[in-house]
Amino acid sequence: MLRRYSVHLSLATVGGLIVYLAHQEYISLYIMSVLMFMGVNIIMSTSLNLVNGYMGEFSCGHGGFMCVGAYVSSLLGVWLFAGDKVFGAPLLNPKYTLYAFPLLILVGGIAAALAGLLVAIPSYKTRGDYLAIITLASNYIIISVIENIGAIGGSRGFMGMKQLINAMGKSVDLPWMPIWVFLFTVFCIWLMRRYISSTFGKGVIAICQDEVAAEIMSVNTNKIKTITFMVSSGMAGIAGGLFAYILGYVNPGSFNILKSTEVLVMVYLGGMGSLSGSVLSAILFTILLELLRPLQIVKWIVIPLLLIILMQFRPEGIMGNRELGDIFPKLKKFYRFK
């Protein structure tokens, strides 16, 4: 009984605690924002792990899909609920923002999932290094398209999302952003876990290990690839939407190849094909980035150096391709996560 609900209980406790502390302002806004970026990074690394770890492809353009999600949910949100010089007066009454917010983020995710087709369709015929180049190209395409649409700010970026956050706070006085980030992070991990542990989702791992055998043993490899790329990029879109609303400002520059590399580092740090590894490494990486902040641009020498050391001494990452329960089998007595 306790084993069955222990995950739910501990998640509720952690979530409740964060919200309570934020609401009572026991933790500073700075720490709060670090915690929220942690959530965004967890979604980014687990979703990229789906493609790079479980499916064995090499996607290095994950930032592009994040960008699509960020822009679509921001533009839609501002168009519907906030006044803006581009869109004019809000279409709907701002007091509905609270109810529509998860939908805005999801629409961003769906748009990013559709953008994922940009990679999914070439993947039918290409794989390995060549597909990696395609993912890189798609990242550039997305960034360049947005940089060149002047109406939404081009490379200067787009803002106005803070009005939605304020409107939500006015409806019900709670720190809404931490709540949404927490809920979406849990939702994404939960969805991926269910997908990958079903017989249907095991087709993804079969493709990774032997694509020819998968196709001959009746796995519709094209369909599985499409779904996996779309789920992965859709989640990156959700992370992007949350990122945009946390900052209250987006510009295409923050989703360039550097962002994609950051996510790659998290995936390899955590271990390929390990969801718990990705969660763990996203948390560690976010803390590390903050600790190294005083170094400013020098941190981009330190972090890649860490990656080189990691590849030399522990190429399988923190967790290898095992989950937390495989490393500490005793833990399984206390929880069941499905």
């Binding site: 969805l191 269910r194 997908y195 079903s198 017989t199 249907f200 989702g201 095991k202 087709g203 791992i205 079969a206 290990q209 032997d210 020819v212 055998a213 998968a214 196709e215 001959i216 043993m217 009746s218 796995v219 519709n220 490899t221 094209n222 779904i227 789920v231 391709n321 499905k338």
Partner: protein, 262 residues
């Protein structure tokens, strides 16, 4: 299980030709396999045997000719669709999913009749729960029949070679095929393993009432098992008949041992 009464060939190949650029790998190949038949395909290295199997399982689209599985033409179908029609195969070099448990190897092969998709796996619908339970039960039963239950949670890469071969055949049979293609099942096995393999194939043939077509270089395997043998060389059919006829066929002897005119 009984052998179907109607006499429609399980596999019919008509005038099959396959060109790779300028190379004609298979030329004007014809065969009819009746339900319950155990037939062999032999020939020297590079004769085009595996190409024929790849054509039947849908990896290549034939340059000319037609392939019919139980009367259904497979032209234009992707391999997983051909598999769903009831064609299973094994590979010359064993192709199991090595980092997936033995049980999961069988489960993933049920994709053609999963009956649910991404949405069901996300919400864990009733249908999903029912199908997963059925698939897990059937997979466990199959492992039991093949005496592989003790390895259910092992990775295939840790199993002895002969057991891997057996598992690959079990995985192929898990899709309830009408036609089983075995591509050199005895490759890499020692002589005692080969005797066991012969017994296994014979047993499968009766137990699952499946039509079997096999490529093999070990002549005693072919001679002991097959009732009909086809010999190809450089893509051309050079002989066809029962084991005795093939053994004494001059064209076969020439193809295997060479011509004594220089």
């Amino acid at each position: 299980m009984s052998i179907p009464t109607e006499k429609r060939p399980v596999l019919e190949i008509r005038n099959l030709t396959q060109n790779f650029g300028g190379l004609r790998a298979v030329s004007d190949f014809n065969i009819q396999l009746m339900p319950g038949e155990l037939s062999g395909l032999i020939g020297p290295n590079g004769a085009g045997k595996t190409t024929v199997f790849n054509l039947v399982s849908g990896f290549y689209q034939p340059s000319e000719g037609a392939i019919l599985i139980d009367g259904v033409p497979t032209g234009g179908l992707k391999p997983h669709k051909v598999t769903a029609l009831g064609v299973a195969r094994t590979f010359q070099n064993i192709r199991l999913w090595n980092e997936m448990t033995v049980l999961d190897n069988i489960r993933v092969a049920q994709h053609y009749r999963l009956g649910y998709g991404f949405f069901h796996s996300a919400v864990r619908s009733k249908r999903y729960m029912r199908r997963e339970a059925e698939i897990a039960r059937e997979a466990a039963e199959l492992l039991d029949i093949f005496h592989l239950t003790q390895y259910a949670d092992e990775f295939p890469k840790n199993l002895p070679y002969g057991t891997q071969r057996k598992l690959e055949i079990a995985r192929a049979l898990s899709i309830h095929p009408k036609l089983l293609l075995l591509d050199e099942p005895a490759a890499g096995l020692n002589s005692s393993d080969i005797q066991e393999l012969i017994r296994l194939i014979r047993w499968i043939h009766e137990m699952f009432a499946v039509t079997i077509w096999m490529i093999e270089h070990q002549m005693d395997v072919i001679m002991q098992l097959c009732t009909r043998i086809k010999v190809i060389d450089f893509g051309e059919t050079i002989a066809e008949g029962n084991p005795e006829e093939i053994c004494n066929h001059p064209a076969v002897i020439t193809a295997y041992l060479g011509d004594d005119t220089i």
